[in-house]
Amino acid sequence: MGDYIVDIENLSRTFGNTQALQDVTLRVPRGGVFGLIGSNGAGKTTLIKHILGSHYAQRGSVRVFGLDPVKEPVKVLGRIGYMSENRDVPGWMRIQELIDFTSTFYPSWDPGYVKELLELFELDSKQRIRNLSRGQTARVCLLLALAHRPELLVLDEPSSGLDPVIRRDILAAIVRTTAEDGRTVLFSSHLLDEVERLADRIALLHQGRVILEDSLESVLESFHRITLRFDRSYSVAPLFDGAIDSRGQGYEWTYVVRGDKTRLEQTAQSLHAQIVGESPLSLDDIFVSNIHGS
């Protein structure tokens, strides 16, 4: 095993006739923040459930901390802090009861940190879970995921459906976790501004496949939006090497292309076209173009 916290190779998974994951290879390096992006139904949650060992690998392999999470769940889960998308916690319990219950699973549970987080999140530990607001419930889940200071924090759509104040708590927790040496965060999100702020690396999942995986920096640098003016009018976009998306009409066509700039200029010249406009792309643009183009 290299220094990968999560090492997934050629993982495929079907549910009935649905191909949920197809030949997914993904390596999450130790330290830093890994962002998993994709539309609803792209396979993000299924992938996360494989990491947690709640799904076994039908084909391919999944290793977390070098271990098989299905075969050694205690060793793996004891080092992961997880917050699920649904944030399902037993409503009949009081916050303190849930904390006490959860703490028994984790040798590294830190009661001092729990106290700190209760204060920070303004939670009253005597309250019953079912009486909490959605945001308070999310804070409880976040607390439970953080309290044993996990080596790997896994957050599945952590801020979906939450107001900006609680989103801030969650994002700050991600920053704090990664700022502590060697800790790794894996989070899935369809809120791409969050991913752009926080991730070191990203993987884009589409229809069960990883169609893009790289450091955020090189992703942002390797895509360009260029507008070309051709020497004659076209009714469909002329083929441009490396283009993943195109739109326009007549003499001017705008492409989203992947590649370094000198090569783009050469390609443009060979098509008798001039680059008349150029702009950087946000992660959101890149996401949409990749989905649109695939």
Binding site: V33, R176, A179, D193, L198, L281, L283, D284
Partner: protein, 130 residues
């Protein structure tokens, strides 16, 4: 220190941090010798990856805008250095380019713009003060 980050703008976040700190220095809102927040504190405040802030600080350091001191803090460098002046010039040139593009788009000629610059109210205010 007031910094606003806009993800989704197409401008890399480290660059936004750099540009805004440069602007704060150039406009005198950050003074030479002033300490910048630690990487972790600023990362949490702006909700961005700490590596991004680290990169911005590193590049500001090589541009001579800030300096690291033995106490591990990051401080605004003495702006008297030629590098800092070069940076300030670069910032100013960007602003001038923006102004000219705008002016030409609105149909003004260069000499009209120059005249307007000389007649600016800000100039009459500073000469009154002086």
């Amino acid at each position: 220190m007031q910094i606003h980050i806009q993800a989704q703008g197409g401008v890399p976040i480290y660059l936004q941090v750099m540009q805004q700190i440069k602007y704060l220095v150039a406009s005198g809102r950050l003074k030479p010798g002033e300490e910048l927040p630690s990487i972790r504190v600023l990362a949490e405040q702006l909700l961005v990856n700490p590596n991004t802030i680290a990169r911005a600080y590193r590049e500001l350091e090589s541009a001579g805008v800030v300096e690291k001191r033995r106490t591990a803090g990051t401080y605004i460098a003495d702006t008297g250095s030629p590098l800092a002046r070069k940076e300030r010039l670069k910032l100013l040139k960007q602003q001038i380019d923006g102004l000219l593009v705008e002016a030409f788009q609105m149909g003004f000629e260069l000499d009209e713009v120059l005249k307007l610059v000389q007649q600016s109210e800000i100039l009459s205010e500073t000469s009154k003060k002086g």
